[in-house]
């Protein structure tokens, strides 16, 4: 059977109608995962525990429990702490680390009866845009196996796109859900900063990291995102905003909706085919009743530079704990304490991680803090302000997710800066803490997916769902699956 190709909603309906059991769905997913090992999407596969969880879900369902995620298989990016299950962050330094506690989102998923089938591959410590920075080998894009799936949540994206599972969790710091979603023809949501608890999320950049979803439909996204959301006492940066019932936002008409198109996002470096697809989607939105207006986000050009000061700074701090003393990799044969630190971190961290730690330490160092970190935070405030101003004229912002479609494996690995520019359209939203979603809006000449990005006002995931669902209902992009 190929129950792994069904959406969350379809599986839930099928379970309710007793067409199949959760155990059967889970087994299909596990079989698919095992058959697709060449993608290298998974780092840990939880065969036994997944089957146990599925059987337990089936028992609950038999007793009348019909909650939306009960018995649904899910894959988890290996940056989230799962109790008793190895959590590596795609890094050698945590290759043997088994957390003694669950992240809050994991606890919520377990409480909802979700079945965790495995942990997915990723760029090391979420630093990357292609998943080529994993210590455990890159992930292949299921659409074309010589292409990257995007990063840093490439494993989760590939798992949902192949398809192997109906839904996966990812994390997004500067675009790490949205860009892989665009490369893999998926719906990828980054919630408002503070919407989802970061407790248990192994931190990269604390003021930017957010946990989100990969699904093949907007409805699935709404269902899962709602369950993940909510104030958590364990996370001082999570906010007590009421969690909306996102499925109420599913729409077919966008009458009265004002969409802003930022002129700064349609620049050189944007592939002509992506440009064309986005422009076509604008026409589609108009056909659905929305009006399109031009907006300006004047400080966009500074965003990548600002991000690559703030994110590495916070990363250099967050990764200081990986010293070989309490857990994780510890280098052997060290002469003294300093040597232990030096060897452990030089051997345990990959080159991109080391690069960012060094940049981060530099911009925080005495004498440079004001010129770099402080200044970057000030410009960040200006960028956030740009969005506030734009949102006084429109309800959502529409733009490309990524400047190109999926590039070839190895194409950009020798030029870190070229790699950084992949995130040019996703970074500003992260800096501003706004919710944003990528959804399928076409394919290029090589049949590679193109993603459309919707950016909402703070806490307004509802309008994102509204616009995305209406667009999806009037198009077929999301229905296509890879044939390779």
């Amino acid at each position: 059977m190929s129950l792994h190709r069904l959406s969350v909603t379809e599986i839930s309906a099928g379970l309710a109608a007793k067409k199949f059991t959760s155990l059967e769905v889970t087994n299909d997913c596990l079989n698919a995962i095992n058959a697709a090992q060449d993608l290298n999407a998974f780092l840990t596969i939880c065969d036994d525990s997944a089957r146990k969880d599925a059987s337990a879900a089936d028992k609950l369902r038999a007793s009348g429990d019909s909650r939306p995620l009960l018995g649904i298989p899910i894959a988890i990016k290996d940056v989230l702490s799962t109790k008793g299950i190895k959590t590596t962050c795609g890094s050698k330094i945590l290759s043997n680390y088994i957390p003694p506690y669950d992240a809050t989102v994991i606890r919520k998923l377990r409480d909802a009866g979700t079945v965790i089938v495995g942990k997915t591959n990723m760029d090391e410590f979420a630093m990357g845009s292609s998943t080529e920075n994993s210590a455990f080998g890159p992930v292949k894009n299921p659409w074309k196996k010589d292409r990257v799936p995007g990063g840093s949540s490439g494993g989760s994206a590939a798992a949902v796109a192949a398809p192997l599972v109906p839904v996966a969790l990812g994390t997004d710091t500067g675009g790490s859900i949205r860009q892989p979603a665009a490369f893999c023809n998926l719906v990828g949501l980054k919630p408002t900063y503070g919407r989802v608890s970061r407790y248990g999320l192994i931190a990269f950049a604390s003021s930017l990291d957010q946990i989100g979803t990969f699904t093949r439909t907007v409805r699935d996204c709404a269902v899962v995102a709602e369950i993940l959301s909510g104030r958590d006492a364990h996370d001082s940066t999570s906010v007590a905003q009421p969690v909306p019932h996102l499925v109420d936002g599913l729409s077919t008409s966008l009458k009265g909706l004002k969409l802003g198109v930022p002129k700064e996002y349609f620049i050189g470096g944007l592939s002509p085919e992506v440009n064309k697809a986005i422009k076509a989607s604008l026409k589609q939105f108009e056909a659905l009743g929305a009006s399109i207006i031009d907006v300006t986000l004047p400080h966009t050009e500074a965003a990548v530079a600002v991000y690559y000061i703030i994110a590495p700074a916070e990363a250099s701090s967050n990764l200081a704990r990986f010293d070989g003393i309490r857990y994780g990799y510890r280098a052997k044969d060290s002469a003294d304490l300093h040597d232990l630190y030096f060897k452990t971190r030089s051997e345990g961290f990959g080159p991109e991680v080391q690069r960012r730690i060094l940049i981060g330490a530099y911009v925080l160092s005495a004498g440079y803090y004001d010129a770099y970190y402080l200044r970057a935070q000030k410009i960040r405030a200006l960028i956030a302000n740009d969005f506030r101003n734009a949102f006084s004229q429109c309800d959502l912002i529409v733009c490309p997710t990524a400047p190109t479609t999926a590039f070839k494996l190895g194409e950009k690995t020798s030029d870190p800066l070229a790699m950084y520019l992949n995130d040019v359209f996703t970074i500003p939203t992260s800096l501003a803490g706004l919710p944003a979603m990528s959804l399928p809006c076409g394919f290029d000449k090589e049949s590679l997916p193109i993603g459309l990005q919707l950016i909402g006002k703070a806490w307004d995931e509802m309008t994102l769902i509204k616009a995305a669902s209406a667009y999806e209902a009037s198009t077929d992009w999301h229905k296509r699956l890879p044939t390779e």
Partner: protein
């Protein structure tokens, strides 16, 4: 050329909250190593800090007690360095937005009162403990202490002598114990001190080069280290040499300061605001709430003892050295009314017995109410002071109440004049020579008769009455 010492002290106060500053693990002392550990204390990836608001209460309290401005908009900062007892690789502290600033505290040295400025007070977390095991040539790390809340109190460089530094430390200790926010025990590490000292010619405003002295584990060490360092720096300067800015360790065995191996050099801590903790807003309402609920300060209680109970300033100050003592004293006064008598009993008999037994007043076998009862019995004449001492010893040894002991031993003071008259007549009858001498004019022999009468009653007779009756009886004989 006359030089003066310019001393500033950085004091770390370990707070006695129930749980740590950023997580719910216990701060209790004496656990097994790594017993009070949770994801944050262990520095596990994915863990996040959550502020314990009691720590802020305590910070506001000490800020108010030290006349500081309490900051409304506070931030926490990360201070980075690598060491095995620092699990996250950074300490959460406060950098340029500390909770209290610009305060002062009055410190008494003998009869002089000096006002020492308080530059700032900030909140931070403690590190764990690194124990070097020479047997196995390894380092053992205990993280129970990691995350315990600390307040760092930084004084202005207003202290001018080692004696003043000692007095300042004692004042800080008294304050934190009165506020109930810390044990303030230097030997146990709940009060720690680093000293900064430089010399400059008297009259000159510019500061000299300062050194920092660490590892000061008692008030005496603080004073001795500063004495040594002043002499050392003086010798350098008078010899035309310069003082090197460095961090020194105090060696208590030799009483000298030694240069630390420069393992830190000038460490760059790369401070930046902690992105896991939103800014802390301390509203006026919070400050007022703390102000209303905070315990009375030592000066206030001294004032009360003088004004309400008529004690001398000296007595009042002796009683307020510790909050537990003045609390005890006031509990004694709930039972007996004689403040002066109660004060004497607390400060001499009780203190003496406690010292001998090596106990704190909190662990006194004689409770305040019990002592109050005893003092009351003396005050209303039921027993003599001498008898009371015996009773007290028994109370201290057995924990029984004074009434129980009196009843058991039949030690009530004899105040019946007829009974005393009987005894006195017996004494006179048994002492013909002394009687004759007294009647012959030797008035000093009165003491002999009193002594004999007291002895005959086992010290239980009311001395005043004995005196009166002996005089009366002897006078009767005179007339005869």
């Amino acid at each position: 050329m006359e030089y003066e010492a310019v001393i500033g002290l950085e004091v770390h106060v370990q707070l006695s909250t129930v749980t740590k500053i950023f997580c719910g693990s216990s701060t209790a002392f004496g656990a097994e190593p790594n017993e009070y550990v949770d994801p944050l204390t262990f520095g596990l990836p994915g863990s996040l800090p959550v502020l314990n608001r009691r720590v802020v209460d305590y910070a506001i309290m000490i800020g108010l007690a030290m006349n500081c401005e309490i900051r409304r908009f506070n931030r926490f900062a990360r201070k980075h360095y690598f060491y095995p007892d620092l699990p996250k690789g950074y300490q959460i502290s406060q950098f340029d937005e500390p909770i209290c600033e610009r305060g002062h505290i009055d410190v008494r040295i003998e009869d002089i009162v000096r006002t020492i400025g308080i530059k700032r007070i900030h909140m931070e977390e403690d590190a764990g403990k690194n124990i070097h095991d020479s047997r196995t040539q390894s380092s053992l790390i205990d993280l129970n202490r990691a995350g315990v809340p600390l307040l760092e109190v930084v004084s202005e460089p207003d202290i001018r002598s080692p004696a003043e530094a000692g007095a300042y430390m004692r004042a800080v200790r008294q304050l934190v114990r009165f506020l109930g926010i810390s044990d303030g025990n230097m030997e146990e590490g709940s009060l720690r001190c680093d000293a900064n000292i430089s010399l400059r010619p008297v009259g000159v405003m510019k500061f000299g080069t300062r050194t920092e002295i660490k590892n000061l584990n008692s008030f005496r060490f603080v004073e001795r280290a500063l004495e040594y360092e002043i002499a050392r720096q003086m010798a350098l300067l008078k010899g035309g040499k310069t003082v090197t800015q460095e961090t020194l360790l105090f060696d208590s065995a030799t009483g000298t300061t030694k240069s630390m191996r420069s393992k830190e050099e000038s460490a760059d801590y790369r401070y930046f605001p902690d992105p896991d903790l939103p800014p802390l807003i301390v509203e006026d309402s919070w400050i007022n709430e703390v102000r209303q609920q905070m315990p009375k300060l030592p000066e206030e209680r001294v004032k009360e003892l003088i004004e309400l109970y008529g004690l001398s300033k000296y007595d009042a100050e002796v009683l307020t050295t510790e909050r537990s003592t003045v609390d005890y004293f006031e509990a004694v006064l709930l039972v007996c009314r004689n403040a002066k008598l109660a004060c004497n009993w607390v400060t001499s008999e009780l203190f003496g017995a406690l010292k001998k037994a090596g106990l704190d007043i909190e662990r006194s076998p004689v409770g305040a109410a019990s002592l109050g009862q005893l003092v009351k019995l003396i005050d209303d004449g039921t027993i003599s002071g001498k008898i009371a001492k015996t009773v007290f010893e028994e109370m201290f040894g057995t924990g029984r109440s004074p009434q129980e002991i009196l009843d058991a031993k039949g030690l009530k003071q004899i105040s019946d004049p007829e009974e005393i008259r009987k005894t006195v007549r017996q004494v006179i009858a048994q002492s013909p020579q002394q009687t004759a001498d007294y009647l012959g004019g030797n008035d000093r022999l009165l003491g002999y008769f009193v002594g004999q009468a007291m002895k005959a009653t086992g010290g239980a007779a009311n001395p005043r009455l004995v005196n009166e009756i002996i005089l009366a009886e002897l006078n009767l004989l005179k007339k005869a």
